[in-house]
């Protein structure tokens, strides 16, 4: 009898694929880590944990906490928008008309969306002029600060504008796939109010199908750059802006700190992603 078990040959193209995905990250991360530990660099004085210690104090720690908070609230607002819009499209007659409009913000680059919102919300912007013309306030000094403000309102508006509609589109598709109109009818016939259907059926059913997708957006928002760059204040800054600030300063002493922060960010995203990929394996990795 002939033995026909064969060794699976290594596909050179797949090896190249892995190399293209992994090597640039490894080399980049390796260099940054080495720099952050003082092992390389112009002012290198040998191995040191100084840069990493500075990560946990002052500006760097503020930037990290601020980024986390901004990510959280952006995601919450986008989710509220998306759930409200998709639910309205499900239960309100005529609300389906909302659907085509949801695609419009997808045509905006983050830079453009940030600038457009700036044009609307800055104290001398369109909204301020419109409300001034209507006699709502007495001038620039009376208009509340909505961009480059302490509450990061401008950033949150842009993030909601960019992410909310995308999630709303996804949620509507998922609601149709879950046959939500029929489910709602069934739940109503069993005595549930619309509020109960929303919280007990709609929200969990959509989350089960789209949770992975939403969390990926969380990862994206954690790395947002252009929007806080244009609409954020100089203090506190998001992590990405903080890192590029440190990188481009004339003071070379800041470079190890910038590299430590960049490595920490990249490692945090990778660990988070690893967790997401194992938890939502079926949704994310099923070709």
């Amino acid at each position: 009898m002939m033995q026909i078990r064969r060794m699976r040959r290594l596909d050179p193209w797949l090896l190249l694929y892995v190399a293209v995905l992994v090597l640039p990250l490894l080399f980049g991360l390796g260099y940054s880590l080495a720099y952050s530990f003082g092992m390389i660099g112009l002012l290198s004085e040998g191995f040191s944990l100084g840069a990493w210690q500075r990560l946990f104090e002052g500006d760097a720690a503020d930037a990290f906490l601020y980024t986390l908070a901004l990510t959280f609230w952006s995601l919450v607002l986008a989710l509220v928008f998306a759930y409200a819009a998709s639910w309205a499209m499900l239960i309100r007659p005529g609300a389906g008309r909302l659907y085509p409009w949801l695609f419009v913000p997808l045509t905006l680059a983050p830079v453009v969306a940030a600038f457009a919102v700036f044009a609307w919300l800055n104290p001398a912007g369109l909204l301020s002029r419109l409300t001034f013309a209507l006699g709502v306030h007495d001038g620039v000094q009376d208009f509340p600060r909505l961009v480059q403000d302490a509450g990061s309102i401008g950033i949150l508006v842009v993030h909601t504008l960019l992410v909310g509609p995308v999630l709303a589109i996804v949620f509507r598709q998922q609601a149709n796939a879950e046959r939500m109109p029929a489910l709602r009818k069934t739940a109503r016939s069993l005595g549930a109010s619309d509020a109960v259907v929303f919280f007990r059926v709609f929200v969990p059913a959509i989350w089960r199908r789209s949770g992975a997708f939403v969390l990926l957006y969380g990862v994206y928002l954690f790395g947002t750059y252009e929007v806080p760059l244009l609409l954020g204040r100089s203090q506190p800054r998001v992590l990405t802006v903080y890192i590029t600030d440190q990188m481009t300063r004339f003071d070379l002493g800041n470079l190890p700190l910038a590299h430590a922060a960049a490595s920490a960010y990249a490692l945090a995203v990778m660990i988070l992603l690893l967790r997401l990929l194992t938890r939502w394996n079926r949704r994310l990795l099923q070709p």
Binding site: L21, T107, V111, W120, Y220, V269, P287
Partner: protein, 277 residues
């Protein structure tokens, strides 16, 4: 009753049209000058001067548009075709989940941070500040996206269909010409467009790797903002929104993951993109 429904629809259209306000704001700012507070309509002067400046390339915008089109077009074309083909190889491999999982890493780390991590190597190899350098850096995160996107096409059902075609006698070339390409063309079109947008919208990495020497439209927009020239920024922003708006007008399915009628999608619903950005 019918009338009431119509009115409700109109109301929701009005709510939806709020999402167009940012774009309308840009259009307005791009056609006014001497825009001192509180000038709005009566006191502001309307002009096409900013658009003429673009047309005459007086502010470098036309060059920026050409550069962006060339950069994003070439990144999208190469990454989407390579991604389409590679996704097929990945999908056929027993370890496809692992291989696909790898693609999320370069794609989801913020491009500006990738720029920080790669800057040293790009400088070292002399790629920093060059078109090729920016192209390569963008390609390295657009390509993984393309693989993730096209993995939806090479799903289980499509692989079964391919096997059926093979057992009916289709060998490699005919398989591609007779089944893969005709069925994949709508996917390729959408994937190409989405890869184009990824590169078209990118700012942070282009700025870091290009060190200002590769002035794409996004770079120009931020420069205008920093120069306190809102009119130039508005023109640049509208130019950036133009290609996606045209495609949205033609067919909004280009923003969705699944292509109608292709019959090959693992995910039973339409999802915009394989992930964010």
């Amino acid at each position: 009753m019918q009338k009431q429904k119509k009115h409700a629809g109109l109301g929701w259209s009005l709510v939806g049209s709020l999402l167009v306000l940012p774009l309308l704001g840009l259009v307005y700012v791009s056609v006014v000058e001497q825009w001192r507070f509180p000038a709005l309509f009566g006191d502001a002067r309307f002009t096409l001067r900013h658009w003429q400046a673009f047309w005459n390339n007086g502010n470098g915008l036309r060059g920026g548009l050409g550069l962006s089109l060339l950069l994003s077009g070439s990144v999208a074309l190469s990454a989407a075709t390579a991604g389409f083909w590679m996704a097929g190889r990945v999908a056929r491999h027993p370890q496809r989940r692992f291989l696909l999982g790898l693609a999320y890493f370069p794609y989801l780390v913020a491009p500006v941070i990738l720029g920080v991590l790669w800057q040293h190597w790009w400088v070292r190899f002399g790629w920093s500040g060059t078109f090729g350098g920016v192209f390569l850096a963008q390609w390295l995160f657009v390509f993984p996206y393309a693989v993730l996107f096209f993995a939806g096409f090479w799903n289980d059902r499509f692989r079964k269909l391919l096997f059926q075609a093979r057992s009916l006698g289709a060998y490699r070339r005919k398989l591609w010409l007779g089944v893969v390409l005709p069925m994949g063309l709508p996917w390729l079109a959408v994937g190409l467009f989405q890869c184009f947008l990824l590169s078209w919208f990118e700012y942070g990495m282009t700025q870091l790797i290009g060190v200002g020497k590769v002035p794409t439209l996004t770079i120009r927009t931020v420069l205008f903002v920093q120069e306190a020239n809102p009119h130039g920024a508005a023109v640049a922003g509208l130019l950036m929104a133009l290609p996606p708006l045209v495609l949205l007008g033609l067919n909004r399915s280009v923003f969705l993951r699944r292509v109608g009628g292709s019959g090959a999608s693992a995910i039973p619903t339409d999802e915009p993109h394989a992930g964010p950005r």
